[in-house]
């Protein structure tokens, strides 16, 4: 049974071996010249300003959480749509209930002012 997974093992072995070989070769044969730019975490991109643990407005999190919440819930529509015919009327009602529950949350968030920026 485990033999079926042999291909994966071979794949893992070779990919690891190639990466290790490349780093080893580079280390062996490459020149070592240190500079300030080189020792930065990101060679290209934003130049870091201030401490890393900066405070962010909580609204970002709120919106993000709401987004993830609804986004993921919507994902459930996909399997339902695929097997819509098989599930029939029951599936339809079920989905309406599901949407109803989502709407409750939506109304709640809305009324609580979670969707307003200010």
């Amino acid at each position: 049974m485990l033999f079926d997974y042999m291909a994966i093992a071979v794949f893992v072995f070779f990919s690891t071996a190639i990466a290790v070989t490349a780093i080893l070769l580079g280390g062996l044969f490459g020149p070592r010249r240190k500079s300030e730019v080189k020792s930065e975490p990101y060679e290209s991109g934003m130049i870091p300003i201030g401490p890393g643990t900066r405070r962010m407005p909580v609204r970002f999190y709120l919106v993000a959480v709401l987004f993830i919440l609804f986004d993921i819930e919507v994902v459930f529509f996909l399997p339902w749509a695929v097997s819509f015919r098989k599930l029939g009327l029951f599936g339809l009602i079920e989905m309406f209930i599901f949407i109803g529950i989502l709407l409750v949350g939506y109304f709640y968030a809305w009324k609580k002012g979670a969707l307003e920026w200010e």
């Binding site: 029951f90 109803g100 529950i101 409750v104 109304f107 709640y108 009324k111 609580k112």
Partner: protein
């Protein structure tokens, strides 16, 4: 293999559906309700209707629903009735408390209802997936409730700790379920039984899965060493939430534990007995020992709650012994009922004495209560006696049944540990009594009618039912487990 959904399927979980729907509606209604006590009364109404539906539903005892994912049996009806009553008690205690503490927010009540519907589903779950689902369903509102006193740091911290550790423990449950599935190729309890009976199951894998599920549920009911969150969460959470949490969550957790282990894993009993033995002994010891140095009543009661989980687990240790299982399950149910009554009463007193800003929670602050409020002190004495297990209280009767089950299972050393730790427990419980009667002080209570009513009622019940415990034990022993 799978049958289409019928009306009967809905009837099997009718109170759960109703309660969840009622909670959704309440969440919306609350947006337009100005006086939050209306929400409280509506929530109580929902619970009352839930009880009515439970009564109605009882006619269908003996049915499984949704392809055996849930069952409706005497056990679930008993537990669900207790859960609904405990919800009512929790709301009654919270009614005045939340306003006094300045945290009267309408979400409290829907959250309680959501949590309760999860607990009730858990009591009916006949499939490990449903167990996990309902575990999360009951836990998430509890996390929120624990942090309900925001922006109080202690409450938020407690909520976060509870959430993180709950998620951590939830992971073990899922892992356990996966192992069980790997071993038996099913997550349905009856399927597991069949697999074991037919010899298809990988038993060592199954035992590992069962052990991990035990860890997850043990976390919920605060079994040592999965208990560490309990004191912090109980202390940080608003007292009304703690009262609800310590009673209802324990009920639901044990309901699931009993159902899964007594039915699906009863064949693993011989493998699991040493584990349960060790866990319950450890829980009784640690819970009682650590309660002693506590000076905060909430923390003390938290450890007491841990200790009581140990006693209940003790009676359940021999769950696989067919001669004992029935007695021990009845004893567990009786004790849960007894503990619910006593626990709510004790928390009622705590709530009456608590003042905003975490004041009035020191045990030393109970000094002089006996002189100033003799009736309240008498009630508290009754609860403390009941928690120790002294007559004339429910605690004694409950412990009697527990020990009877343990001794029937021939686990004498465990019983000895139980008795000894009960003795130790007298130390810290009686300290409250000593403080109330033998020290002078000037405690102040907030005379909230509902909390007072509940406290008095629980005290009366604690004594009265202990004098006539037969009917309750009869009900508990009639509450049979089944999968159909």
């Amino acid at each position: 293999m799978t049958t289409p959904v019928k009306l009967l399927d809905f009837i099997t979980i009718l109170p759960v559906i109703f309660l969840a729907a009622w909670a959704c509606l309440l969440l919306l209604v609350d947006l337009w309700v100005k006086h939050k006590r209306v929400t409280a009364y509506l929530a109580a109404l929902g619970l009352a209707i839930g009880l009515g539906l439970l009564w109605y539903q009882a006619a269908w005892i003996g049915n499984a629903g949704f392809n055996h994912m849930v069952v409706l049996d005497g056990f679930s009806v008993f537990v669900n009735a207790l859960l609904l009553l405990s919800g009512l008690l929790g709301i009654a205690l919270a009614y005045g408390y939340l306003r006094r503490m300045g945290i009267e927010r309408g979400e409290f009540y829907p959250l309680v209802l959501f949590s309760l519907s999860g607990m009730m589903l858990m009591a009916q779950a006949a499939d490990l997936i449903v167990v996990f689902l309902s575990l999360e369903f009951l836990s998430i509102p509890l996390y929120v409730l624990t942090a309900f006193a925001y922006p109080k740091a202690a409450s938020e911290e407690a909520g976060l700790k509870y959430f993180l550790l709950g998620a951590f423990a939830g992971g073990f449950v899922v892992y356990g379920i996966a192992l069980v599935y790997g071993a038996a190729a099913t997550t349905a309890l009856d399927g597991i039984i069949a697999a074991v009976a037919e010899g298809r199951a990988n038993l060592s894998l199954l035992v590992s899965g069962a052990a991990l599920i035990l860890v997850g549920l043990g976390f919920k009911v605060a079994i040592v060493p999965f208990h560490m969150w309990t004191p912090d969460a109980y202390q940080g959470a608003p007292s009304a939430v703690t009262a609800f949490m310590s009673s209802a969550a324990k009920l639901a957790g044990f309901a699931a534990l009993v159902r899964i282990f007594a039915l699906a894993f009863s064949s693993l009993s011989d493998d699991l007995i040493p584990i349960l033995w060790g866990l319950s002994a450890l829980t009784m010891l640690v819970g009682n020992l650590l309660a002693i140095p506590q000076t905060n009543i909430k923390r003390m009661l938290a450890y007491s709650s841990i200790a009581h989980a140990g006693y209940i687990l003790m009676a359940f240790t021999a769950f696989g012994n067919p001669g004992v299982a029935e007695v021990s399950i009845a004893a567990v149910l009786f004790y849960l009922a007894a503990y619910t009554v006593t626990n709510y009463g004790a928390w009622g007193v705590v709530i009456l004495l608590e003042r905003a800003g975490d004041l009035g929670l020191e045990i030393g602050g109970y000094a002089g209560l006996g002189r100033k409020y003799p009736a309240l002190a008498a009630c508290m004495t009754i609860f403390m006696l009941s928690l120790i297990g002294l007559p004339p209280t429910l605690g004694l009767v409950g412990k009697f049944y527990l020990f009877r089950a343990v001794i029937a299972a021939d686990l004498i050393p465990l019983a000895v540990i139980g008795v000894l730790t009960s003795l130790i427990s007298a130390w810290y419980y009686l300290r409250v009594v000593v403080n109330m009667y033998m020290r002078t002080g000037d405690p102040e209570i907030s005379p909230e009618p509902w909390a007072l009513t509940i406290t008095g009622l629980m005290a009366i019940l604690t004594v009265l039912v202990s004098l006539l415990p037969g009917w309750l034990f009869f009900l508990a022993s009639q509450a049979r487990l089944n999968l159909f």
